[in-house]
């Protein structure tokens, strides 16, 4: 009886701080923003209930859809740039010599830097006058390709996708390496004895064996694309003319620059819904393909 009470007390008091912290700072905000999404609110003073107006306004606003489109560009760049590149590197890096470990460590390196540092370095790389990119192009005689990479609305978003790939490729590489090393060697050996070529083995053994990891990687690309806010904020602030606006920066600008907290809350809620939908959608899509 007394042991039972001590046990209960320990469980209760032990969990209390974590549950409280988690509930207040992670769970409540989701419902909070859903609630204030229904309000016309400037952050101070009276909040006025306006029903679905904020949500309707967001969904009928061109810039909202443009931001969503840019988010999808980041997703596409990650799925079709990061994943194949990481997979290729993983296939080439399966030996584990010191040279290969060095390459692996280098590929991972950008992951430990602050996004502010990455954003500023890449702004300088793209800078029209002193930038490395224009410098290299001039050096190899392609001077006519020189341009202000981040001020050209038609390419700015794609130029931002490059540092995103560069920055986040590391974890995918590690995941693929782990998956590749779990494929039993006998399988490959047996196929080789049966005369299967390298390419054949890649498509008939390796890729099917790590398909689950590829699926996880794609889901990560989708949820990870929403993290690009920091880079955008540092490099372009969403400009020029909203060409690099992401949902998160759109939300940020509406809330903290023009003080529309109700509207910003509605957009926050839409971000949660969209990211959950994208993740669920990609899961369903790939389950069907797998059958």
């Amino acid at each position: 009886m007394r042991i039972g009470t001590a046990r209960k007390l320990f469980i209760g008091f032990g969990l209390l701080p974590s549950v409280l912290l988690y509930a207040v700072f992670v769970v409540v905000p989701v419902f909070w923003s859903a609630y204030y999404g229904f309000m016309d609110w400037k952050g101070i003073g009276e909040a006025r209930f306006i029903g679905f107006d904020n949500y309707v306004e967001a969904l009928s606003h061109d810039i909202f859809w443009q931001s969503l489109g840019n988010n999808l560009i980041v997703v596409a760049a990650s799925v079709f740039g990061q994943v194949p590149l990481a997979l290729l590197l993983a296939l080439l890096l399966s030996q584990g010599t010191w040279f290969q470990r060095f390459v692996r460590a280098s590929v991972f390196m950008p992951m430990v830097l602050s996004s502010v540092v990455i954003g500023i370095i890449w702004s300088y790389i793209y800078q029209p006058q002193i930038g490395l990119l224009n410098g290299i192009l001039s050096f190899v005689g392609l001077e006519e390709w020189n341009r202000a990479w981040l001020s050209d609305p038609s390419i700015a978003m794609w130029m931002i996708a490059i540092p995103i790939i560069w920055n986040f490729i590391g974890p995918y590489l590690i995941m693929f390496l782990a998956a590749l090393s779990s494929i039993p060697q006998e399988l490959n050996d047996a196929a080789a004895i049966d005369g299967a070529t390298r390419t054949r083995r890649l498509f008939s053994i390796t890729l099917p064996m790590i398909w689950d990891t590829i699926k996880v990687a794609i889901v990560l690309c989708i949820s990870g694309s929403l993290k690009a806010f920091d880079l955008i904020y540092v490099m372009t602030k969403g400009g020029p003319a909203h060409a690099t606006e992401l949902l998160a920066s759109y939300m940020y600008n509406n809330t903290f620059n023009v003080y529309r907290y109700g509207y910003g809350s509605a957009v926050s809620t839409l971000i949660v819904i969209i990211s959950l939908l994208l993740i669920a959608g990609s899961q369903i899509l790939m389950r069907r393909n797998n059958q």
């Binding site: 320990f10 032990g14 080439l92 290969q100 500023i120 890449w122 002193i130 560069w166 590690i174």
Partner: protein, 291 residues
């Protein structure tokens, strides 16, 4: 194989070996090139930090003509990096202690006790990893204003801890699952309380998992930009990434000064990375699978 039977080392063998040698060389050249491209932006940052601005403009690619340490001194003073470093150290340290202690406590209770709602609690924690962090900026901003912790160190420490708890609990629970319970049961029979068992047995046993959590937390807290941007206004409370962001728009013409500031801010995380490479890579890959 061919050494044991030198007589069989015919032309066929030679071409196969040559083919293998060529393939390995091409692979290593490609990998080396990729590593070079990946590391170059960082190398460029460190090199430029030592240059005078004139040298930076004239020879963007070469090594510094004279190694200027004065950039570092100037950057340290101009951007108030001393104060910012202290703030970053304090916020990171307190958040780490809280994350480790409450993460371990929660993981211990979840993995060793039967109680109602255990499964729900664990899934709820993992579900939280799907919530995009940026969607909580607006609601947390308003909530912190109401709680009166906006623009204090607590405005960073509490959400950092809350958002890191799921990963901490996940990593430590997975580690505890492979540890036999006999020692704890013996301690219980000897009359030790749960608190004693947690402090004297569980914390030391889970040290490897705790160190992974600590490294991940350190990188995340030290590098965070979004929370600091929104929850901190007072210049004397700014963390490093926030104080660096002034370089993104303020001092843009003083390039080598900026590069020196970026280099100094990146050094701690790069050192931690070089010291704990394997742990950082494995931990971040595992953390992102569940995040």
């Amino acid at each position: 194989m061919s050494t044991s039977m030198p007589a069989l080392d015919t032309g066929l063998h030679k071409t196969r070996r040559q083919y293998k040698w060529w393939r390995r060389s091409i692979r290593n050249i490609l990998l080396g090139f990729y590593a070079l491209v990946t590391l170059y932006p960082l190398f460029w940052m460190f090199m430029s930090a030592f240059k005078s601005n004139a040298d930076f403009f004239a020879n963007p690619f070469s090594l510094p003509q004279t190694w200027n340490w004065s950039n570092f001194v100037r950057a340290w003073e101009v951007s108030g990096m001393g104060k910012a470093t202290m703030n970053s150290l304090f916020v990171t340290f307190v958040s780490l202690v809280l994350t480790l202690f409450f993460g371990a406590l929660t993981a211990y209770i979840i993995s060793r006790f039967e109680f109602r709602g255990r499964g729900i609690l664990y899934s709820l924690l993992l579900l939280g990893l799907l919530i995009p962090i940026h969607s909580t900026l607006v609601p947390l901003f308003s909530m912190m204003n109401m709680m009166g912790i906006f623009d204090t160190h607590a405005a960073l420490i509490l959400p950092y801890t809350a958002f890191e708890l799921p990963i901490a609990v996940f990593i430590i629970t997975a580690y505890l699952a492979n540890i036999p319970k006999e020692m704890e049961e013996a301690a219980l029979v000897d009359g030790a309380g749960y608190t004693g068992i947690f402090l004297r047995l569980i914390l030391p046993i889970t040290l490897p998992a705790l160190s992974t959590v600590a490294i991940l937390g350190f990188l995340r807290f030290w590098n965070d930009f979004a929370f600091a941007l929104v929850f901190i206004n007072d210049p004397s409370l700014k963390t490093l990434p926030l104080s660096l962001s002034v370089f993104a728009d303020g001092f843009t013409t003083d390039y080598s000064l900026t590069m020196a500031a970026l280099s100094m801010a990146s050094l701690p995380t790069i050192i931690v990375y070089l010291m704990f490479q394997e742990q950082v890579m494995k931990g971040m890959a595992a953390g992102s699978v569940k995040g």
